[in-house]
Amino acid sequence: MTAAATLDEVCVVACAEAWRGDGEILASPIGVVPTVAARLAKATFEPDLVLTDGEAYIVANPLPVGRPPEHKVIEGWLPYRTVFDVLWAGRRHVMMGATQIDQYGNQNIACIGDWERPKAQLLGMRGAPGNTVNHPTSYWVPNHSRRAFVERVDVVSGVGYRRAAETGESATRYHDIRLVVTNKAVLDFDTPDHSMRVRSLHPGVTVDEVSEATGFPLVVPEDLAETRAPSDEELRLVRDVLDPSGLRTSEVK
């Protein structure tokens, strides 16, 4: 009998679902939970996904996070500059973090405060501007709170729906923000004006809890589903193969 899924495992499966149906494209997960998730998707329902070892190799077999693999089946070479080629060619779906995200999916990973003289310098823009206007993007926010889900992001790194629409066709042409997965819920932008919507709640989480932790109004459908539970086979893969050291637990707040 498999032990019941913990929250971090529910999150892994919810993140994995972001890549369902993507086929033969590069899945680029940022962070532990998204990495385990992308590898899980490839090992189960999305076998054609292309994954790297986090460095320059495309690897065919499922690798564990946080420890050296026994064997890497290297099927290709993808140094950083080739990643940009793939990215601009659109054959990629990234799952990034978001220090801040707003109602229309604008994301900030650059800094907190005024960019000219930030209160807290963070990573910088990284690839967020290019990612969001070139191919599908999803987000993983391990601590669903009003600090992260804000009315207005301090800096727009990743372009959201409203900003893209205001900018014009070059921004909207390949723009596709898919899912926002948090420790409480799965959210999307499947609404007439692309404002954020609750898609499913993780087991035991209420709508009020999610709304309370969000700094803007969320669209809440009437027939709100529960985030699907991991299957026994998914739990086995996560626990025994993809994350045997349990690194995922430290990322989920």
């Binding site: 500059r81 940009f84 290019g130 900018t167 390949y174």
Partner: protein, 282 residues
């Protein structure tokens, strides 16, 4: 074939205050750190640093040598945020040009090809356009699409570190990723390459396949043999990142006294050889 062998200090003697210096590698990976340390031993200042930033940016900021940083990110990889760079940004000590990291590549490539700009969608709609008011867009003459015109990031000097090189300045990477070092060299007026080991030209292909000869001598003006020159960043496959040392570096950043000790122990030394000896003794 000209003999381009030189030393870190001779390379830095070619730098002048106010220059724009491109530094190869990526984050905390294969950085020409012995050349960066040589800058710290000199009195060169007011530099504009162009980098896929790591501790190169952090060290130069901490030493007050930087007027402006041009970057897409600055990170120590295993430690996501670069503490010295953060401090410099938060205190307003440095100016910044922050780009999408793909735009950054395009800027180097434009400079390499002697073009004023290269077009891309990356950046459109984001605050990259707001925080860099000098960035302009162009309209495609073919279909009217509006694209970002990434300006050439032309460099006075490029500094890169390779695994192997010959005395003529042909450079070879042996790890899995060439990063953008060839573009840094091509974007610069003066180009300097350090390497783990100098080998005779005829031995280069004994070290790795022909595809690993990413830098050719048309792209370099000087070559420095610098064993462990990328320390404490990684130099795959010669050595991994020195994570303990990087942690020491990052932790010391938070405490003026600890930083003063770090500087005294590792940076305020008369030569690269003494740095390497101090690291071995630690």
């Amino acid at each position: 074939m000209a003999d381009k062998r030189t030393t870190e200090d001779e390379v830095v003697a070619e730098l002048a205050d106010g220059m724009t210096v491109g530094i190869g590698g990526w984050g905390s990976r294969r950085k020409p750190m012995s050349l960066v340390r040589a800058i710290l031993r000199s009195d060169v200042k007011d530099l504009t640093i162009v980098s896929y930033g790591g501790p190169d940016v952090g060290l130069l900021c901490a030493a007050g040598r930087v007027r402006k940083v041009i970057y897409g990110f600055v990170s120590l990889d295993s430690i996501p945020l670069e503490p010295h760079f953060r401090a410099a940004r938060q205190s307003g000590a440095v100016d910044a040009m922050e780009l999408d990291e793909g735009m950054f590549q395009w800027g180097l490539y434009a400079a390499a090809l002697r073009l004023p700009f290269l077009p891309t969608r990356a950046g459109i709609g984001s605050d990259v356009m707001r925080i860099n008011p000098e960035l302009a867009t162009v309209t495609s003459p073919y279909d009217g699409e509006e694209l970002v015109a990434v300006p050439a990031l032309s460099l006075d000097v490029a500094l890169v570190h390779m695994n192997r090189a010959d005395a003529g300045g042909n450079g070879q990477f042996l790890g899995p990723d060439p990063y953008f070092d060839d573009l840094f060299c091509m974007a610069a007026r003066r180009r300097f390459l350090s390497c783990e080991r100098l080998v005779p030209t005829d031995d280069l292909l004994k070290e790795g396949p022909v595809q690993s000869l990413r830098i050719n001598r048309m792209m370099t003006d000087g070559v420095v043999e610098a064993p462990h020159g990328a320390h404490f960043t990684s130099c795959d496959p010669d050595y991994e990142r020195d994570e303990d040392f990087q942690r020491l570096y990052a932790t010391a950043a938070g405490d003026p006294e600890a930083w003063a000790t770090f500087e005294r122990t590792y940076l305020q030394l008369p030569s690269e050889a003494e740095y390497q000896a101090a690291v071995r003794a630690s």
